[in-house]
Amino acid sequence: MVEYRSTARRDRYGSQINRAHSPLIALVVPWASIVLGSLMPLFPLISSMPLLPPMGFMLFIAWRLVRPGLLPVWAGLPLGLVDDLFSGQPLGSAILLWSLILLALDQFEARFPWGGFAQEWLLATVVTVAYILASAFIAGTGVRDMLSLLAPQLLLSVLLFPIFGRMVAFLDRFRLRRFRTVG
C-alpha cells in the first residue's frame, strides 16, 4: 500500500486537484477590504461623537503588518484619497498621513525585521494613536479637550487591533484560496 503525504492533496488553501488560485481575488481582496473599511461612514451607524476606530486605517495597518510587502509603498495615495472622500476630514489629510506612515513603517522594518505579536501590537498602537491625534488636530479640534473627546476612540482602537489582525489573516487565507478550474 502506498503512503501519501496528507498535504499532497489539500493544504490550508483548499484542495490542490483541479483547482488554482485566482489572480483577480489575490490582487483585489486587500485593496477592496480597506476601501470597504473607509466606507464605514455610509454604514447604518450614526453617532454624535467619534467613537469607532477608523476602520479603513486599521485594516490598512493590519494588512501592512500581517503581510509586509503586499501593499506597495505608494498605496497611501489611492487608498488615502478614497478614505478622505468619506471620512469628513479635509481632503488630503489621509493621503498625507497614510503615505508618511507607510514610509515610516518601511524604515522601522529595515531596522527591526523580526516582529512578534507584542512588538506588532505596540507598533500598531503607536501608529494608530499618532494617526488619530494628528487627524483630530488637522480637523481643528482644540488641544485642550482633545483627550477627553478622543479617549474612548483611542482605547477602542488600540484594544481592537489584534482582532483586525485576525480579520486580515482570515481575508489573506481567502485571498490565496484555490478555486475549481474549468477544463
Binding site: S47, G76, L85, L103, L149
Partner: protein, 295 residues
C-alpha cells in the same frame, strides 16, 4: 517571522528600478497629500464636487442598511423595557397626568396667540418641507460631525437648508449631490446656531463640541440666567432657521452660558425633513458661512 526583505532588490535591474520608482511614488504621494490638504484648509469648498459624486455613488448601499439601524434600535429598546417596565409605568402615568394639564394650558395659549396675531394682522404660515429623506450614516471616526442624507438636488435640496426631525433641529445641508447630500450636524465644532430660551428673553449661540453636546454662549454677558433643564429653540436670527424649532436642553452651567444636550439625537432618527431656508435673503450670508464652515 522575518518579513521578506522587499528593500533588497539584488542584481536585477528591473527589480532595482521598480523599487526605486515605488519610493519616488510614495514620496510624491505624501507631497500631493500635503498640497491637497493645504488647498482644502484654505479653501474648504474646493473638493465638494468630488465628494458629492463619491457619496452619490455609494449612497444606495448605505440606504439599505439605514432601515436595519432603526429596527435594531427598537430591539434594544424592547429588551431594556422588559426589565424596567414597572417603575417606568408609574413614572409615565404621572407624567401623562401633568402632560394633560399642560396640553389644556397650551390650547388656551394657542387660542390667545391666534387672537393676538389676528389683531396684529400676522398670518399663520405653514412651512412645507422641501423633501423628506433618510439619514444614511454619519462620520464615525473623525472629530468632524457630518451625516449623509438620501436626497439631493434632484429632490430640490440646496446647500444651507435646515434639516429637522420630529424632535427638533438636526443640522443643515452643507453639500448637495444629485441624489445624496452631506449634513453638518449641530454637534460639529464648526456649527453655530442662534437660539433663545423658550421662556424669557435669553438669547445665545449654540456651538457644537463634537462630543454630542453643545456649548451655549450668551449674547448678553452678566449674571447667567440659565437654569439646568431650560429648553432652547432657534431664534430665527440670521434668517437660516425659522424660529421655534427645538434645539437643546441645558444640562450643566458654566461661566458664560451652559453645556446643553441636543434634543434630536441623530442616531435615533430615521426620516428627517429638509426645510426651505427661512429668509431667502439670508442665502448669501449662509453661503459665506458655509464656505467658512466647510472643512
Amino acid at each position: 517571522m522575518a518579513p521578506p526583505s522587499s528593500r533588497h532588490s539584488g542584481f536585477s535591474r528591473k527589480a532595482q528600478f521598480s523599487l526605486f520608482t515605488g519610493y519616488v511614488l510614495a514620496g510624491a504621494g505624501a507631497l500631493a497629500g500635503a498640497v491637497l490638504l493645504a488647498v482644502s484648509l484654505f479653501n474648504p469648498g474646493a473638493f465638494s464636487g468630488l465628494r458629492a459624486v463619491a457619496s452619490d455613488l455609494a449612497a444606495p448601499a448605505g440606504e439599505l442598511g439605514a432601515e436595519a439601524r432603526t429596527d435594531t434600535q427598537g430591539l434594544f429598546g424592547t429588551l431594556a423595557g422588559f426589565f424596567l417596565s414597572g417603575s417606568k409605568n408609574a413614572a409615565l402615568k404621572e407624567e401623562n397626568e401633568i402632560a394633560r394639564i399642560r396640553l389644556a394650558e397650551a390650547d388656551a395659549v394657542r387660542e390667545e396667540n391666534k387672537r393676538l396675531k389676528a389683531l396684529l394682522g400676522l398670518r399663520e404660515e405653514d412651512v412645507k418641507p422641501v423633501a423628506m429623506a433618510r439619514l444614511i450614516g454619519s462620520t464615525s471616526s473623525s472629530t468632524r460631525r457630518f451625516a449623509y442624507l438620501s436626497a439631493g438636488t434632484k429632490d430640490g435640496v440646496e446647500p444651507g437648508m435646515p434639516v429637522r426631525s420630529p424632535r427638533g433641529l438636526v443640522g443643515r445641508v452643507l453639500e448637495a449631490g444629485s441624489h445624496s447630500s452631506r449634513v453638518l450636524l449641530l454637534t460639529d465644532s464648526e456649527s453655530l446656531v442662534p437660539v433663545r430660551r423658550t421662556k424669557g428673553d435669553v438669547v445665545a449661540f449654540a456651538e457644537g463640541r463634537a462630543d454630542g453636546t453643545l456649548r451655549l454662549r450668551l449674547v448678553n454677558l452678566g449674571i447667567n440666567p440659565i437654569r439646568v433643564g431650560d429648553v432652547f429653540v432657534t431664534s430665527g436670527a440670521g434668517g437660516l432657521y425659522r424660529p421655534g424649532i427645538a434645539v437643546a436642553v441645558a444640562t450643566k452651567l458654566n461661566r458664560d452660558g451652559a453645556i446643553a444636550r441636543v434634543l434630536s439625537d441623530p442616531a435615533a432618527t430615521d426620516f428627517v425633513a429638509v426645510d426651505p431656508i427661512w429668509q431667502p435673503e439670508a442665502q448669501a450670508v449662509a453661503s459665506a458661512q458655509q464656505r467658512r464652515a466647510l472643512r
